[in-house]
Protein backbone atom coordinates (compact mmCIF):
# COMPACT_ATOMS: atom_id res chain seq x y z
CA UNK A 1 0.00 0.00 0.00
CA UNK A 2 1.28 3.47 -0.91
CA UNK A 3 1.84 5.43 2.32
CA UNK A 4 0.77 8.75 0.77
CA UNK A 5 -2.86 9.76 0.89
CA UNK A 6 -5.67 8.74 3.22
CA UNK A 7 -6.27 5.11 4.14
CA UNK A 8 -9.31 4.14 6.18
CA UNK A 9 -9.56 0.56 7.29
CA UNK A 10 -12.60 -1.15 8.84
CA UNK A 11 -13.78 1.97 10.59
CA UNK A 12 -16.64 1.64 13.06
CA UNK A 13 -18.13 4.25 15.36
CA UNK A 14 -20.60 3.40 18.09
CA UNK A 15 -22.35 5.85 20.37
CA UNK A 16 -23.78 4.77 23.73
CA UNK A 17 -24.00 1.13 24.79
CA UNK A 18 -26.33 -1.71 25.59
CA UNK A 19 -29.91 -1.21 24.42
CA UNK A 20 -29.29 2.41 23.50
CA UNK A 21 -26.21 1.74 21.38
CA UNK A 22 -26.20 3.46 18.01
CA UNK A 23 -23.79 2.33 15.31
CA UNK A 24 -23.17 5.43 13.20
CA UNK A 25 -20.41 3.96 10.99
CA UNK A 26 -20.10 0.24 10.25
CA UNK A 27 -16.87 -1.29 9.03
CA UNK A 28 -16.11 1.40 6.46
CA UNK A 29 -12.91 1.20 4.41
CA UNK A 30 -11.74 3.90 2.03
CA UNK A 31 -8.56 5.00 0.25
CA UNK A 32 -8.10 8.52 -1.10
CA UNK A 33 -5.02 9.18 -3.21
CA UNK A 34 -3.21 12.52 -3.36
CA UNK A 35 -4.93 14.75 -5.91
CA UNK A 36 -8.15 12.74 -5.77
CA UNK A 37 -11.58 14.15 -4.96
CA UNK A 38 -14.01 11.80 -3.24
CA UNK A 39 -17.61 12.88 -2.83
CA UNK A 40 -19.60 11.18 -0.08
CA UNK A 41 -23.36 11.44 -0.46
CA UNK A 42 -26.21 9.93 1.46
CA UNK A 43 -29.46 10.70 3.21
CA UNK A 44 -29.63 12.66 6.43
CA UNK A 45 -28.57 10.55 9.41
CA UNK A 46 -26.55 8.19 7.25
CA UNK A 47 -23.30 8.89 9.12
CA UNK A 48 -21.64 11.26 6.61
CA UNK A 49 -20.75 13.89 9.17
CA UNK A 50 -19.59 11.32 11.71
CA UNK A 51 -17.27 9.86 9.09
CA UNK A 52 -15.97 13.32 8.15
CA UNK A 53 -15.32 14.13 11.81
CA UNK A 54 -13.33 10.94 12.25
CA UNK A 55 -11.35 11.60 9.06
CA UNK A 56 -10.53 15.05 10.45
CA UNK A 57 -9.33 13.64 13.79
CA UNK A 58 -12.16 15.44 15.55
CA UNK A 59 -13.79 12.21 16.67
CA UNK A 60 -12.14 8.96 17.75
CA UNK A 61 -13.29 5.79 15.96
CA UNK A 62 -14.49 2.88 18.09
CA UNK A 63 -12.71 0.42 15.84
CA UNK A 64 -10.54 0.55 12.76
CA UNK A 65 -7.65 2.71 11.65
CA UNK A 66 -7.20 6.02 9.84
CA UNK A 67 -3.78 6.61 8.29
CA UNK A 68 -2.74 9.86 6.61
CA UNK A 69 0.57 9.96 4.74
CA UNK A 70 1.78 7.00 6.80
CA UNK A 71 0.74 8.42 10.18
CA UNK A 72 -1.93 6.43 12.00
CA UNK A 73 -4.19 9.18 13.36
CA UNK A 74 -6.51 6.85 15.25
CA UNK A 75 -3.57 5.72 17.43
CA UNK A 76 -2.44 9.22 18.42
CA UNK A 77 -3.08 10.67 21.87
CA UNK A 78 -5.55 13.56 22.27
CA UNK A 79 -2.65 15.85 23.13
CA UNK A 80 -1.07 15.38 19.70
CA UNK A 81 -4.22 15.84 17.66
CA UNK A 82 -4.39 19.68 17.66
CA UNK A 83 -0.99 19.85 15.93
CA UNK A 84 -2.09 17.25 13.40
CA UNK A 85 -5.34 19.11 12.71
CA UNK A 86 -3.39 22.33 12.33
CA UNK A 87 -0.93 21.01 9.76
CA UNK A 88 -2.48 17.98 8.07
CA UNK A 89 -6.09 19.07 7.56
CA UNK A 90 -7.91 21.94 5.94
CA UNK A 91 -11.56 22.30 6.86
CA UNK A 92 -14.15 23.97 4.64
CA UNK A 93 -17.54 24.51 6.23
CA UNK A 94 -21.00 25.09 4.84
CA UNK A 95 -21.33 28.33 6.84
CA UNK A 96 -17.78 29.46 5.95
CA UNK A 97 -17.16 30.08 9.68
CA UNK A 98 -14.75 32.95 9.21
CA UNK A 99 -13.67 34.94 12.26
CA UNK A 100 -15.92 37.98 12.03
CA UNK A 101 -13.59 40.31 13.93
CA UNK A 102 -10.65 39.75 11.57
CA UNK A 103 -10.32 40.97 8.00
CA UNK A 104 -9.86 38.61 5.07
CA UNK A 105 -6.08 38.54 5.19
CA UNK A 106 -5.99 38.16 8.97
CA UNK A 107 -8.45 35.26 8.82
CA UNK A 108 -6.15 33.31 6.52
CA UNK A 109 -2.91 34.41 8.17
CA UNK A 110 -4.27 33.46 11.58
CA UNK A 111 -4.35 29.77 10.59
CA UNK A 112 -0.70 30.00 9.53
CA UNK A 113 0.26 31.78 12.75
CA UNK A 114 -1.48 29.05 14.74
CA UNK A 115 0.79 26.58 12.97
CA UNK A 116 3.86 28.52 14.07
CA UNK A 117 4.57 30.84 11.14
CA UNK A 118 5.74 34.36 12.01
CA UNK A 119 3.22 37.19 11.65
CA UNK A 120 4.92 38.91 8.69
CA UNK A 121 5.47 35.68 6.79
CA UNK A 122 1.94 34.46 7.52
CA UNK A 123 0.44 37.67 6.19
CA UNK A 124 2.63 37.58 3.09
CA UNK A 125 1.67 33.98 2.41
CA UNK A 126 -2.02 34.74 3.03
CA UNK A 127 -1.95 37.70 0.62
CA UNK A 128 -0.29 35.58 -2.03
CA UNK A 129 -2.79 32.74 -1.67
CA UNK A 130 -5.80 35.07 -1.61
CA UNK A 131 -4.52 36.82 -4.72
CA UNK A 132 -4.21 33.45 -6.46
CA UNK A 133 -7.84 32.79 -5.53
CA UNK A 134 -8.93 36.15 -6.97
CA UNK A 135 -9.31 38.01 -3.69
CA UNK A 136 -6.27 40.27 -3.92
CA UNK A 137 -8.53 43.32 -3.88
CA UNK A 138 -10.40 42.17 -0.79
CA UNK A 139 -7.53 41.64 1.68
CA UNK A 140 -8.61 44.36 4.11
CA UNK A 141 -12.32 43.63 3.85
CA UNK A 142 -14.35 42.38 6.79
CA UNK A 143 -15.99 38.99 6.11
CA UNK A 144 -19.45 40.56 6.38
CA UNK A 145 -18.68 42.76 3.37
CA UNK A 146 -18.05 39.75 1.10
CA UNK A 147 -20.43 37.77 -1.08
CA UNK A 148 -21.08 34.12 -0.23
CA UNK A 149 -18.71 32.97 -2.96
CA UNK A 150 -15.96 35.27 -1.75
CA UNK A 151 -16.41 34.07 1.82
CA UNK A 152 -16.06 30.48 0.68
CA UNK A 153 -12.90 31.36 -1.26
CA UNK A 154 -11.48 32.90 1.93
CA UNK A 155 -12.40 29.70 3.77
CA UNK A 156 -10.66 27.67 1.05
CA UNK A 157 -7.57 29.87 1.33
CA UNK A 158 -7.59 29.34 5.09
CA UNK A 159 -7.86 25.60 4.56
CA UNK A 160 -4.90 25.67 2.16
CA UNK A 161 -2.54 28.04 3.97
CA UNK A 162 -0.74 25.32 5.93
CA UNK A 163 -0.45 23.09 2.85
CA UNK A 164 -2.41 20.19 4.39
CA UNK A 165 -2.45 16.67 3.04
CA UNK A 166 -6.22 16.41 3.21
CA UNK A 167 -9.01 18.92 2.61
CA UNK A 168 -12.30 18.06 4.28
CA UNK A 169 -15.33 19.94 2.99
CA UNK A 170 -18.74 19.82 4.62
CA UNK A 171 -21.46 20.94 2.19
CA UNK A 172 -19.15 23.55 0.64
CA UNK A 173 -21.73 24.75 -1.90
CA UNK A 174 -24.88 24.55 0.21
CA UNK A 175 -25.10 28.28 0.97
CA UNK A 176 -24.00 29.45 -2.47
CA UNK A 177 -25.96 30.37 -5.58
CA UNK A 178 -25.38 28.46 -8.78
CA UNK A 179 -22.55 30.69 -10.07
CA UNK A 180 -20.62 30.78 -6.82
CA UNK A 181 -21.25 27.05 -6.33
CA UNK A 182 -19.59 26.31 -9.67
CA UNK A 183 -16.74 28.65 -8.82
CA UNK A 184 -16.15 26.79 -5.56
CA UNK A 185 -16.28 23.43 -7.30
CA UNK A 186 -13.75 24.61 -9.90
CA UNK A 187 -11.45 25.72 -7.10
CA UNK A 188 -11.73 22.38 -5.31
CA UNK A 189 -10.88 20.62 -8.58
CA UNK A 190 -7.82 22.85 -9.00
CA UNK A 191 -6.75 22.23 -5.42
CA UNK A 192 -6.72 18.50 -6.05
CA UNK A 193 -5.31 18.47 -9.58
CA UNK A 194 -2.73 21.22 -9.41
CA UNK A 195 -1.74 21.27 -5.75
CA UNK A 196 -2.05 17.53 -5.17
CA UNK A 197 -4.25 17.74 -2.07
CA UNK A 198 -6.64 14.88 -1.34
CA UNK A 199 -10.18 16.21 -1.04
CA UNK A 200 -13.10 14.54 0.72
CA UNK A 201 -16.43 16.29 0.30
CA UNK A 202 -19.65 15.51 2.12
CA UNK A 203 -22.59 17.01 0.25
CA UNK A 204 -26.13 16.68 -1.04
CA UNK A 205 -25.27 18.88 -4.03
CA UNK A 206 -25.52 16.84 -7.24
CA UNK A 207 -23.38 19.36 -9.14
CA UNK A 208 -20.31 18.34 -7.19
CA UNK A 209 -20.38 14.96 -8.90
CA UNK A 210 -19.07 16.76 -11.97
CA UNK A 211 -15.74 17.45 -10.34
CA UNK A 212 -15.49 14.33 -8.16
CA UNK A 213 -13.21 11.47 -9.16
CA UNK A 214 -15.38 9.11 -7.15
CA UNK A 215 -18.83 9.30 -5.59
CA UNK A 216 -19.62 7.10 -2.59
CA UNK A 217 -23.07 6.55 -1.20
CA UNK A 218 -23.26 6.20 2.56
CA UNK A 219 -26.41 4.82 4.09
CA UNK A 220 -26.99 3.36 7.54
CA UNK A 221 -23.31 3.86 8.28
CA UNK A 222 -21.92 1.83 5.36
CA UNK A 223 -21.07 2.43 1.73
CA UNK A 224 -23.67 0.89 -0.59
CA UNK A 225 -23.75 0.19 -4.30
CA UNK A 226 -24.10 3.56 -5.95
CA UNK A 227 -25.37 2.08 -9.21
CA UNK A 228 -28.81 1.62 -7.71
CA UNK A 229 -29.09 5.32 -6.88
CA UNK A 230 -31.39 7.74 -8.72
CA UNK A 231 -32.27 11.40 -8.28
CA UNK A 232 -35.68 12.68 -7.24
CA UNK A 233 -36.41 15.23 -10.05
CA UNK A 234 -38.39 17.48 -7.69
CA UNK A 235 -36.18 17.90 -4.63
CA UNK A 236 -32.91 16.67 -6.14
CA UNK A 237 -32.30 14.13 -3.39
CA UNK A 238 -30.38 10.99 -4.33
CA UNK A 239 -32.16 7.81 -3.29
CA UNK A 240 -32.03 4.11 -3.75
CA UNK A 241 -34.36 2.74 -6.41
CA UNK A 242 -35.80 0.08 -4.16
CA UNK A 243 -36.45 2.62 -1.39
CA UNK A 244 -38.31 5.19 -3.50
CA UNK A 245 -41.59 6.28 -1.90
CA UNK A 246 -43.26 6.63 -5.30
CA UNK A 247 -42.54 6.08 -8.98
CA UNK A 248 -44.12 7.72 -12.02
CA UNK A 249 -43.73 7.12 -15.74
CA UNK A 250 -43.55 10.17 -18.01
CA UNK A 251 -42.76 10.23 -21.74
CA UNK A 252 -41.50 6.67 -21.57
CA UNK A 253 -39.15 7.27 -18.62
CA UNK A 254 -39.61 6.12 -15.01
CA UNK A 255 -39.01 8.74 -12.32
CA UNK A 256 -38.37 7.94 -8.64
CA UNK A 257 -39.43 10.11 -5.68
CA UNK A 258 -38.31 10.38 -2.06
CA UNK A 259 -41.88 11.12 -0.89
CA UNK A 260 -45.45 11.08 -2.19
CA UNK A 261 -45.42 14.89 -1.89
CA UNK A 262 -42.65 15.11 -4.50
CA UNK A 263 -44.56 12.76 -6.81
CA UNK A 264 -47.74 14.87 -6.51
CA UNK A 265 -45.77 18.02 -7.26
CA UNK A 266 -44.23 16.30 -10.28
CA UNK A 267 -47.67 15.25 -11.55
CA UNK A 268 -48.81 18.90 -11.44
CA UNK A 269 -46.25 20.05 -14.05
CA UNK A 270 -43.96 17.19 -15.06
CA UNK A 271 -42.28 19.07 -17.91
CA UNK A 272 -41.01 21.72 -15.52
CA UNK A 273 -39.07 19.11 -13.56
CA UNK A 274 -38.09 16.92 -16.50
CA UNK A 275 -36.40 19.88 -18.22
CA UNK A 276 -34.20 20.55 -15.25
CA UNK A 277 -33.32 17.01 -14.23
CA UNK A 278 -33.58 13.78 -16.08
CA UNK A 279 -33.41 10.59 -14.04
CA UNK A 280 -29.79 10.02 -13.44
CA UNK A 281 -27.69 7.20 -12.12
CA UNK A 282 -25.17 8.21 -9.54
CA UNK A 283 -21.68 7.39 -10.68
Amino acid sequence: MNDRGLHVSHLTKRFGGGDTEVVAIRDVSLDVSPGEIVLIMGPSGSGKTTLLLMLGALLKPTEGAITLDGLELSALSEARLPDIRMRQFGFIFQDFNLLSALNVQDNVAFAAELAGLGRKEAHKKAAQLLTELGLGHRLRFAPEKLSGGEKQRVAIARALINDPALILADEPTANLDSGHGHETMRLLREIASERGHSVVIVSHDQRIKDIADRVLWLEDGRFTDAVSMVIDPVCGMALQVDRAAATLAHSGTTYYFCSRGCSWEFQGSPDEFVRGAVPERVR
Partner: protein, 370 residues
Protein backbone atom coordinates in the same frame (compact mmCIF):
# COMPACT_ATOMS: atom_id res chain seq x y z
CA UNK B 1 -4.05 35.78 19.86
CA UNK B 2 -3.61 39.34 21.14
CA UNK B 3 -4.79 40.73 17.82
CA UNK B 4 -7.82 38.44 17.77
CA UNK B 5 -8.67 39.33 21.37
CA UNK B 6 -8.43 43.07 20.71
CA UNK B 7 -10.41 42.85 17.47
CA UNK B 8 -13.08 40.78 19.20
CA UNK B 9 -13.21 43.40 21.90
CA UNK B 10 -13.58 46.45 19.65
CA UNK B 11 -15.89 44.79 17.13
CA UNK B 12 -18.93 45.34 19.34
CA UNK B 13 -18.35 48.89 20.50
CA UNK B 14 -21.54 49.11 22.52
CA UNK B 15 -20.62 46.04 24.52
CA UNK B 16 -17.10 47.40 25.07
CA UNK B 17 -18.51 50.75 26.18
CA UNK B 18 -20.89 49.11 28.64
CA UNK B 19 -18.11 46.91 29.99
CA UNK B 20 -15.53 49.68 30.36
CA UNK B 21 -18.13 52.14 31.65
CA UNK B 22 -19.45 49.67 34.20
CA UNK B 23 -16.00 48.76 35.46
CA UNK B 24 -14.96 52.40 35.36
CA UNK B 25 -17.89 53.49 37.52
CA UNK B 26 -17.40 50.59 39.93
CA UNK B 27 -13.71 51.40 40.33
CA UNK B 28 -14.54 55.09 40.61
CA UNK B 29 -16.60 54.15 43.64
CA UNK B 30 -13.56 52.45 45.18
CA UNK B 31 -11.18 55.26 44.18
CA UNK B 32 -13.56 57.99 45.28
CA UNK B 33 -14.17 56.80 48.83
CA UNK B 34 -10.51 56.01 49.25
CA UNK B 35 -9.61 59.49 47.99
CA UNK B 36 -12.17 61.13 50.29
CA UNK B 37 -10.81 59.29 53.34
CA UNK B 38 -7.20 59.91 52.35
CA UNK B 39 -7.99 63.59 51.80
CA UNK B 40 -9.84 63.83 55.11
CA UNK B 41 -7.03 62.03 56.92
CA UNK B 42 -4.57 64.49 55.37
CA UNK B 43 -6.65 67.38 56.66
CA UNK B 44 -6.84 65.85 60.12
CA UNK B 45 -3.07 65.92 60.41
CA UNK B 46 -2.79 69.31 58.79
CA UNK B 47 -2.14 71.08 62.08
CA UNK B 48 0.54 68.57 63.04
CA UNK B 49 2.14 68.89 59.61
CA UNK B 50 1.98 72.71 59.51
CA UNK B 51 2.48 73.66 63.17
CA UNK B 52 6.20 74.09 62.75
CA UNK B 53 6.95 71.73 65.66
CA UNK B 54 9.62 69.05 65.19
CA UNK B 55 8.65 67.08 68.30
CA UNK B 56 5.38 66.61 70.20
CA UNK B 57 5.30 65.91 73.93
CA UNK B 58 2.08 64.49 75.34
CA UNK B 59 0.82 62.79 78.46
CA UNK B 60 2.35 59.35 78.90
CA UNK B 61 0.55 56.80 76.74
CA UNK B 62 -1.17 59.41 74.54
CA UNK B 63 -0.04 59.01 70.95
CA UNK B 64 -2.75 60.87 69.03
CA UNK B 65 -4.58 64.17 69.18
CA UNK B 66 -7.98 62.70 68.42
CA UNK B 67 -9.93 60.07 70.31
CA UNK B 68 -7.71 60.73 73.33
CA UNK B 69 -6.99 63.48 75.84
CA UNK B 70 -3.59 64.66 76.91
CA UNK B 71 -3.10 66.52 80.20
CA UNK B 72 0.32 67.64 81.37
CA UNK B 73 1.40 69.84 84.26
CA UNK B 74 2.35 73.29 82.98
CA UNK B 75 5.78 72.79 84.54
CA UNK B 76 6.65 70.16 81.94
CA UNK B 77 7.25 72.95 79.41
CA UNK B 78 10.23 74.18 81.42
CA UNK B 79 11.60 70.65 81.87
CA UNK B 80 11.38 70.03 78.14
CA UNK B 81 12.98 73.39 77.32
CA UNK B 82 15.95 72.46 79.53
CA UNK B 83 16.76 69.31 77.56
CA UNK B 84 19.87 69.76 75.39
CA UNK B 85 19.04 70.14 71.71
CA UNK B 86 15.69 71.85 72.33
CA UNK B 87 15.70 75.28 70.73
CA UNK B 88 12.23 76.29 71.80
CA UNK B 89 9.31 74.65 73.65
CA UNK B 90 5.80 76.06 73.80
CA UNK B 91 2.76 74.72 75.62
CA UNK B 92 -0.60 74.46 73.86
CA UNK B 93 -4.10 73.63 74.96
CA UNK B 94 -6.26 71.62 72.67
CA UNK B 95 -9.90 70.54 72.62
CA UNK B 96 -12.67 69.68 70.20
CA UNK B 97 -15.48 72.20 70.50
CA UNK B 98 -18.24 73.93 68.55
CA UNK B 99 -17.99 77.33 66.92
CA UNK B 100 -21.41 78.86 67.32
CA UNK B 101 -21.89 81.45 64.64
CA UNK B 102 -25.31 83.09 64.45
CA UNK B 103 -27.70 80.16 63.97
CA UNK B 104 -25.15 77.58 62.87
CA UNK B 105 -22.65 75.40 64.69
CA UNK B 106 -19.40 74.06 63.32
CA UNK B 107 -17.12 71.43 64.82
CA UNK B 108 -13.62 72.77 65.36
CA UNK B 109 -10.31 71.73 66.84
CA UNK B 110 -9.58 74.65 69.13
CA UNK B 111 -5.99 75.47 70.01
CA UNK B 112 -4.96 77.77 72.83
CA UNK B 113 -1.56 79.37 72.21
CA UNK B 114 0.68 81.57 74.35
CA UNK B 115 0.52 85.12 73.06
CA UNK B 116 4.26 85.14 72.36
CA UNK B 117 4.34 81.75 70.58
CA UNK B 118 6.65 81.86 67.58
CA UNK B 119 5.12 78.76 66.00
CA UNK B 120 2.06 76.58 66.38
CA UNK B 121 -0.29 79.26 65.09
CA UNK B 122 -2.22 79.61 61.80
CA UNK B 123 -0.02 79.30 58.72
CA UNK B 124 -2.15 81.07 56.13
CA UNK B 125 -4.14 84.18 56.97
CA UNK B 126 -6.46 85.57 54.32
CA UNK B 127 -7.88 88.44 56.38
CA UNK B 128 -7.17 90.16 59.70
CA UNK B 129 -4.60 89.28 62.36
CA UNK B 130 -2.22 86.31 62.42
CA UNK B 131 -2.42 85.93 66.21
CA UNK B 132 -5.47 86.00 68.46
CA UNK B 133 -5.38 88.49 71.28
CA UNK B 134 -7.40 88.38 74.54
CA UNK B 135 -11.11 87.89 73.75
CA UNK B 136 -10.31 87.08 70.13
CA UNK B 137 -10.46 84.03 67.92
CA UNK B 138 -9.10 83.13 64.49
CA UNK B 139 -11.36 80.83 62.44
CA UNK B 140 -11.36 79.37 58.93
CA UNK B 141 -12.66 81.72 56.27
CA UNK B 142 -14.99 79.05 54.83
CA UNK B 143 -16.79 78.77 58.19
CA UNK B 144 -17.07 82.54 58.35
CA UNK B 145 -18.34 82.70 54.78
CA UNK B 146 -20.97 80.00 55.34
CA UNK B 147 -22.23 81.88 58.43
CA UNK B 148 -22.03 85.28 56.77
CA UNK B 149 -19.38 86.53 59.24
CA UNK B 150 -16.44 88.85 58.79
CA UNK B 151 -13.48 90.02 60.85
CA UNK B 152 -14.84 91.94 63.79
CA UNK B 153 -18.00 89.83 64.13
CA UNK B 154 -18.49 87.68 67.21
CA UNK B 155 -18.78 83.91 67.65
CA UNK B 156 -19.05 81.63 70.67
CA UNK B 157 -16.14 79.25 71.29
CA UNK B 158 -15.49 77.26 74.48
CA UNK B 159 -18.56 78.92 75.98
CA UNK B 160 -17.11 82.40 75.52
CA UNK B 161 -18.15 85.03 73.06
CA UNK B 162 -15.05 86.04 71.12
CA UNK B 163 -14.38 88.50 68.36
CA UNK B 164 -13.08 87.21 65.05
CA UNK B 165 -9.61 88.67 64.72
CA UNK B 166 -8.48 86.85 61.59
CA UNK B 167 -9.51 84.35 58.96
CA UNK B 168 -7.38 81.39 57.94
CA UNK B 169 -7.38 79.34 54.79
CA UNK B 170 -6.85 75.59 54.27
CA UNK B 171 -7.78 74.67 57.81
CA UNK B 172 -11.19 73.11 57.22
CA UNK B 173 -12.17 69.62 56.15
CA UNK B 174 -15.43 67.79 55.49
CA UNK B 175 -15.96 67.21 59.19
CA UNK B 176 -14.29 70.07 61.04
CA UNK B 177 -12.11 73.17 61.02
CA UNK B 178 -9.39 74.68 63.20
CA UNK B 179 -9.72 77.70 65.49
CA UNK B 180 -7.08 79.55 67.49
CA UNK B 181 -7.54 81.44 70.76
CA UNK B 182 -5.13 82.66 73.41
CA UNK B 183 -4.01 80.19 76.00
CA UNK B 184 -5.41 82.42 78.75
CA UNK B 185 -8.89 82.47 77.22
CA UNK B 186 -8.73 78.70 76.75
CA UNK B 187 -7.56 78.11 80.36
CA UNK B 188 -10.23 80.45 81.71
CA UNK B 189 -12.90 78.56 79.86
CA UNK B 190 -11.61 75.29 81.27
CA UNK B 191 -10.98 76.69 84.73
CA UNK B 192 -7.50 75.17 84.85
CA UNK B 193 -4.42 77.33 84.73
CA UNK B 194 -1.74 74.79 85.51
CA UNK B 195 -2.63 72.12 82.97
CA UNK B 196 -1.59 72.03 79.32
CA UNK B 197 -2.35 69.53 76.55
CA UNK B 198 0.92 69.26 74.61
CA UNK B 199 4.36 70.78 74.43
CA UNK B 200 5.50 71.65 70.91
CA UNK B 201 9.25 71.52 70.44
CA UNK B 202 11.51 73.05 67.85
CA UNK B 203 14.92 71.39 67.84
CA UNK B 204 18.26 73.13 67.32
CA UNK B 205 19.52 73.35 63.74
CA UNK B 206 22.22 70.74 64.25
CA UNK B 207 19.94 68.24 65.99
CA UNK B 208 17.67 65.55 64.63
CA UNK B 209 14.03 65.44 65.82
CA UNK B 210 14.30 61.74 66.69
CA UNK B 211 17.48 62.29 68.69
CA UNK B 212 15.99 65.16 70.69
CA UNK B 213 12.73 63.23 71.18
CA UNK B 214 14.68 60.32 72.68
CA UNK B 215 16.56 62.69 74.94
CA UNK B 216 13.36 64.34 76.19
CA UNK B 217 11.91 60.88 76.87
CA UNK B 218 14.96 60.07 79.00
CA UNK B 219 14.95 63.35 80.93
CA UNK B 220 11.27 64.11 81.52
CA UNK B 221 9.01 61.78 83.45
CA UNK B 222 5.40 60.98 82.66
CA UNK B 223 5.46 61.95 79.00
CA UNK B 224 5.30 60.35 75.58
CA UNK B 225 7.55 62.00 73.02
CA UNK B 226 7.16 61.62 69.30
CA UNK B 227 8.54 63.40 66.27
CA UNK B 228 5.94 65.25 64.23
CA UNK B 229 6.22 62.55 61.56
CA UNK B 230 5.52 59.81 64.12
CA UNK B 231 2.67 61.78 65.65
CA UNK B 232 1.06 62.40 62.22
CA UNK B 233 1.56 58.75 61.30
CA UNK B 234 -0.23 57.62 64.48
CA UNK B 235 -3.00 60.09 63.74
CA UNK B 236 -3.49 58.83 60.18
CA UNK B 237 -3.39 55.25 61.43
CA UNK B 238 -6.14 56.03 63.90
CA UNK B 239 -8.35 57.59 61.22
CA UNK B 240 -7.65 54.70 58.92
CA UNK B 241 -8.53 52.16 61.61
CA UNK B 242 -11.75 54.03 62.29
CA UNK B 243 -12.71 54.10 58.62
CA UNK B 244 -11.47 50.65 57.63
CA UNK B 245 -14.88 49.02 57.84
CA UNK B 246 -16.64 51.53 55.65
CA UNK B 247 -13.75 51.57 53.16
CA UNK B 248 -13.88 47.77 53.04
CA UNK B 249 -17.62 47.86 52.40
CA UNK B 250 -17.16 50.36 49.58
CA UNK B 251 -14.25 48.37 48.14
CA UNK B 252 -16.31 45.19 48.28
CA UNK B 253 -19.26 46.91 46.62
CA UNK B 254 -16.99 48.27 43.90
CA UNK B 255 -15.27 44.93 43.47
CA UNK B 256 -18.53 42.99 43.17
CA UNK B 257 -20.08 45.53 40.81
CA UNK B 258 -16.99 45.56 38.60
CA UNK B 259 -16.76 41.80 38.70
CA UNK B 260 -20.41 41.38 37.75
CA UNK B 261 -20.14 43.79 34.82
CA UNK B 262 -16.92 42.33 33.41
CA UNK B 263 -17.91 38.72 34.02
CA UNK B 264 -21.24 39.22 32.30
CA UNK B 265 -19.87 41.06 29.27
CA UNK B 266 -16.94 38.69 28.78
CA UNK B 267 -19.24 35.70 29.21
CA UNK B 268 -21.70 37.07 26.63
CA UNK B 269 -18.84 37.99 24.29
CA UNK B 270 -17.45 34.45 24.55
CA UNK B 271 -20.77 32.66 24.20
CA UNK B 272 -21.74 34.78 21.20
CA UNK B 273 -18.53 33.61 19.50
CA UNK B 274 -18.88 30.03 20.61
CA UNK B 275 -18.98 28.83 17.03
CA UNK B 276 -15.84 30.75 16.11
CA UNK B 277 -13.98 29.27 19.06
CA UNK B 278 -15.19 25.84 17.95
CA UNK B 279 -13.77 26.51 14.48
CA UNK B 280 -10.48 27.53 16.03
CA UNK B 281 -10.40 24.27 17.96
CA UNK B 282 -11.17 22.33 14.79
CA UNK B 283 -8.27 24.18 13.15
CA UNK B 284 -5.96 22.97 15.90
CA UNK B 285 -6.02 25.80 18.44
CA UNK B 286 -5.39 24.49 21.95
CA UNK B 287 -7.44 25.46 24.99
CA UNK B 288 -4.55 27.51 26.34
CA UNK B 289 -4.59 29.72 23.25
CA UNK B 290 -8.33 30.30 23.58
CA UNK B 291 -7.98 31.07 27.30
CA UNK B 292 -5.46 33.73 26.39
CA UNK B 293 -7.98 35.38 24.08
CA UNK B 294 -10.57 35.53 26.87
CA UNK B 295 -8.11 36.65 29.54
CA UNK B 296 -6.68 39.38 27.31
CA UNK B 297 -10.20 40.66 26.63
CA UNK B 298 -10.99 40.71 30.35
CA UNK B 299 -7.68 42.39 31.21
CA UNK B 300 -8.05 45.06 28.53
CA UNK B 301 -11.67 45.76 29.57
CA UNK B 302 -10.65 46.09 33.20
CA UNK B 303 -7.54 48.15 32.39
CA UNK B 304 -9.64 50.60 30.37
CA UNK B 305 -12.15 50.64 33.24
CA UNK B 306 -9.30 51.31 35.68
CA UNK B 307 -8.07 54.28 33.65
CA UNK B 308 -11.64 55.52 33.32
CA UNK B 309 -12.23 55.22 37.07
CA UNK B 310 -8.92 56.91 37.85
CA UNK B 311 -9.62 59.67 35.33
CA UNK B 312 -13.09 60.37 36.74
CA UNK B 313 -11.74 60.43 40.31
CA UNK B 314 -8.85 62.77 39.40
CA UNK B 315 -11.32 65.02 37.61
CA UNK B 316 -13.59 65.12 40.66
CA UNK B 317 -10.54 65.71 42.87
CA UNK B 318 -9.55 68.66 40.70
CA UNK B 319 -13.04 70.14 40.67
CA UNK B 320 -13.98 69.48 44.31
CA UNK B 321 -12.02 72.36 45.90
CA UNK B 322 -13.79 74.77 43.53
CA UNK B 323 -17.09 73.60 44.96
CA UNK B 324 -15.95 73.50 48.58
CA UNK B 325 -12.52 74.13 50.02
CA UNK B 326 -13.33 71.59 52.72
CA UNK B 327 -13.72 68.79 50.18
CA UNK B 328 -10.25 67.45 49.54
CA UNK B 329 -9.79 64.22 47.55
CA UNK B 330 -6.36 62.61 47.51
CA UNK B 331 -5.59 59.64 45.26
CA UNK B 332 -2.67 57.95 46.96
CA UNK B 333 -0.18 55.56 45.40
CA UNK B 334 -1.29 52.81 47.79
CA UNK B 335 -4.89 53.34 46.69
CA UNK B 336 -3.83 53.09 43.04
CA UNK B 337 -1.87 49.90 43.71
CA UNK B 338 -4.73 48.38 45.70
CA UNK B 339 -7.32 49.14 43.01
CA UNK B 340 -4.95 47.81 40.34
CA UNK B 341 -4.64 44.53 42.23
CA UNK B 342 -8.43 44.43 42.70
CA UNK B 343 -8.82 45.05 38.95
CA UNK B 344 -6.47 42.20 38.10
CA UNK B 345 -8.46 39.89 40.37
CA UNK B 346 -11.70 41.04 38.70
CA UNK B 347 -10.24 40.26 35.26
CA UNK B 348 -9.02 36.85 36.36
CA UNK B 349 -12.27 35.81 38.00
CA UNK B 350 -14.35 37.24 35.14
CA UNK B 351 -12.37 35.19 32.62
CA UNK B 352 -12.67 31.94 34.59
CA UNK B 353 -16.26 31.09 33.66
CA UNK B 354 -15.92 31.69 29.90
CA UNK B 355 -12.62 29.82 29.95
CA UNK B 356 -14.29 26.79 31.52
CA UNK B 357 -16.95 26.98 28.81
CA UNK B 358 -14.24 26.96 26.15
CA UNK B 359 -12.52 24.00 27.77
CA UNK B 360 -15.71 21.96 27.38
CA UNK B 361 -16.45 23.21 23.87
CA UNK B 362 -16.37 20.38 21.33
CA UNK B 363 -15.33 21.35 17.81
CA UNK B 364 -17.55 18.52 16.66
CA UNK B 365 -20.51 20.76 17.47
CA UNK B 366 -19.44 23.04 14.65
CA UNK B 367 -20.04 20.51 11.93
CA UNK B 368 -23.73 19.87 12.14
CA UNK B 369 -26.10 17.42 10.55
CA UNK B 370 -25.31 13.75 9.99
Amino acid sequence: MIRLALRNLVQNKTRLLVSVGGVGLALTLVFFFDAVFTGAAGRLTLYIDRSGADVWVSQEGVRTMHMSASSLPASVTGEVAAVPGVEEAIPILYSTDMIQAKDSEHVAYVFGLPRDATFGGPWKIVDGAARAGPGEVIIDHSIAASAGLRVGDRVTVLGQELEIAGLTSGTSSLVNSVAFVTMDDFARARGQNQVISFVLVKVAADESPSGVAARIGQNVDGVTVQTSQQFAHEERKLVKDMSTDIINIMNTAGFLTGLAVVALTIYIATISRRKEYGVLKAMGARNGALYRVVVIQALVSVALGLFTGLGITLLIAALAPRISESLVLTVSLSSLLRVTVVSAVIAGVAAALPASQLARLEPVAIIRRG
